[in-house]
């Protein structure tokens, strides 16, 4: 067990290194750098740009491996991800400013997804092949197939036409008005959350069905235990083990969902920041956000793998 943990932690180090190189290299391939963008802006004003000077100022005048070394040095020695190429902010300032929105949206979507998925999945398995089961499964599969950006558009269009009501799009910070903030984000969270819940619901149902056929469940029943105890104590606990892995692995979906939803609902989160930075060729921001999410997800995956033996004592690793 200890060797396994150490092995996993050691293997994560080269992966993290490759991740930083990938993140850094990717944006260097972006066509048209920020200077080109500035020049085309200034052309209208008939201004000349000191290309060399700007490149030096932004640290783009040296070979990429020197840029990489500087970048890594900045992270480890000074705890900074560099400066945004626009507006004189550091990358971490921009990320930290946008983070609460994304975290709140993510957390709310996550909670909603589990609140829908687990009860429906368990219920659907207990009532296997009843109309309720079919309805739940059909809705789940349709939910998986519905693009969340389309759902978001529909939510914006039809209530406006039918009742003259549009979902609020002015973001309210949680610290200023917690209830207002939650109320404002509830519609975006429902959209991201339902999309997430479909997969979890289906796996919960499948695992429940499998567990309900196990010998220990039959034993529990034949002992004369109450059905409630059989379901919750013996079945649900065991069925949820693989579900934990899936729920953990859904973090990337959550991130992807928030990128789209933040752009539709004009929320000032990381997803908006990312798409804007792509359009402006703001390398440090793009690398910063990619590195941030990449690291978070890598650690998340590692955490789930390490958690597994604790949740399920039957699992033993080398």
């Amino acid at each position: 067990m200890t060797t396994y943990v150490i092995r996993r932690l050691l293997l994560a180090v080269p992966t993290l290194f490759i991740l930083t190189v990938l993140v850094f290299m990717l944006v260097r391939f972006l066509p048209g750098n920020v200077i080109d963008m500035m020049e085309s802006d200034l052309e209208a004003l008939d201004w000349q740009l000191d290309r060399e000077g700007f490149l030096r100022l932004m640290g783009l005048d040296v070979p990429f491996y020197v840029q990489y070394a500087r970048w890594m040095g900045g992270i480890f020695l000074h705890g900074t991800l560099g400066d945004s190429l626009f507006a004189g902010h550091t990358v971490e300032e921009k990320i930290l400013a946008a983070l609460p929105v994304t975290v709140q949206l993510g957390a709310m979507s996550f909670v909603l997804a589990q609140l829908i998925a687990l009860p429906v999945g368990i219920f659907s398995a207990i009532r296997q092949d009843t109309p309720a089961d079919y309805v739940a499964r059909t809705i789940a599969i349709i939910g998986m197939a519905t693009p969340n950006f389309w759902l978001a558009l529909m939510v914006m269009i039809y209530p406006t036409i039918w009742w003259g009501w549009a979902p609020p799009i002015e973001y309210i910070p949680f610290t200023e008005n917690p209830l207002g903030s939650i109320g404002m984000l509830i519609i975006p969270s429902v959209i991201v959350g339902t999309a997430m819940s479909a997969g979890t619901m289906r796996l919960t149902r499948t695992m429940m069905l499998e567990v309900l056929r196990q010998d220990y469940v039959r034993t529990a029943r034949s002992k004369g235990l109450k059905e409630r105890v059989v379901i919750y104590r013996h079945s649900v606990k065991n069925a949820l083990i693989p579900v934990i892995t899936l729920v953990g692995a859904q973090l990337p979906i959550l991130v992807g969902g928030s990128v789209i939803i933040e752009n539709i609902f004009v929320l000032p989160g990381l997803g908006r920041l990312f798409v804007d930075a792509l359009a402006q060729r703001d390398y440090p921001i793009i690398s910063g956000i990619n590195l941030f999410f990449g690291t978070v997800i890598l650690l998340n995956n590692l955490f789930i793998d390490l958690l597994y033996p604790f949740v399920d004592p039957r699992v033993r690793y080398r």
Binding site: T15, L26, P31, I141, A145, P147, T160, E210, I297
Partner: protein, 300 residues
């Protein structure tokens, strides 16, 4: 393969045909929803392939007098803001969505086989190194890396296929790797090696036939996601070019701008997308259930 049972007729009929026919008969009997979905997809493929013949108007033809008109006998689903026929655009959209989706998924499976197959078969240091790269790639949220790479390559159909295919293949390689490692532990594999079967023969005769079902499963469960990814990227403005009638692009462009005046411009492309992805998922699930005996009966 599990789909072949010892039917006496197998000796009379040509073997390959009976296998395939038998598979589809079994599918129709056991998975009616999956079969219906498969037929819908087939129809969509035909509509997409024959869009030039079937569509009432070319997708780019403008009828400015009829701009933003509702459904009528000459334009069954109405017109967009430039008077282009919405139905025709949706039909060409089917060609783009399914074309990009199927091509990218094919590439996806090939890349997955190349990475996962070599990694699983060779093992050792090569596997260890390769898996670090795969881990690092998977650590990125799919959409972020797709957006980054698409802004490098620029919008376009070939770029889209390459990016979705390669990126999906790196993720899918883990399934193939797992399958190959599983095959290597089987007695028939050990026996083949023990009697001195050369590597290429072992690969062809013992590994490939057993990896095939996994490849088909990866293909059928991935297409829906790939099409969804294409639509998301096109919606955000990083996917297919603006002048192509892609469903995702139609949703972000005219669908969004004229949503109060003509909500059907946003409704229809999304509906087409949902139906397509729904059918692909149902069909994929049915294929998986039939091909992977371990998952059968789990009542997914």
């Amino acid at each position: 393969m599990s789909s072949v049972t010892g039917m006496p007729s197998a000796e009379i009929l040509p073997r390959r045909r009976s296998r395939l026919v038998e598979f589809f008969v079994r599918m129709a009997r056991e998975k009616p929803m999956g079969t219906v979905s498969g037929i819908v997809i087939l129809l969509l493929v035909i509509v997409g392939a024959l869009a030039d013949v079937l569509a009432p108007y070319p997708y780019y033809e403008m009828h400015l007098i009829d701009r933003l008109q509702g459904p009528s006998t000459s334009y069954l689903l109405g017109n967009d803001e430039m008077g282009r026929d919405l139905l025709s655009r949706l039909m060409y959209g089917a060609r783009l969505s399914l074309g990009v989706g199927l091509a990218a998924t094919t590439l996806d499976v090939i890349v997955a086989l190349l990475i996962g197959g070599t990694s699983g078969f060779l093992g050792g240091k090569y596997d260890l190194t390769m898996q670090r790269f795969v881990d690092a790639w998977i650590a990125f949220p799919g959409l972020l890396i797709l957006l980054t790479v698409m802004s490098i390559t620029g919008r376009g159909v070939p770029q889209m296929i390459l990016v979705l295919g390669i990126s999906g293949g790196i993720g899918g390689s883990r399934l193939i790797r797992g399958a190959v490692i599983g095959i290597k532990e089987n007695d028939y594999f050990l026996a083949a090696r023990a009697v001195g079967s050369p590597t290429h023969a072992t690969l062809l005769r013992h590994v490939m036939p057993n990896v095939m079902p996994v490849m088909i499963i990866i293909f059928s469960i991935s297409v829906g996601g790939v099409i969804m990814a294409e639509a998301s990227l096109s919606f955000l403005g990083f996917g297919l070019p603006l002048d192509t009638p892609s469903w995702g692009g139609m949703l972000s462009g005219e669908g969004r701008r004229y949503m109060e005046v003509a909500p059907r411009l946003a409704l229809m492309p999304g509906l087409a997308l949902t139906i397509t992805v729904y059918c692909l998922n149902m069909f994929g699930d049915a294929m998986r259930d039939l091909l992977d005996p371990r998952l059968r009966g789990a009542g997914n």
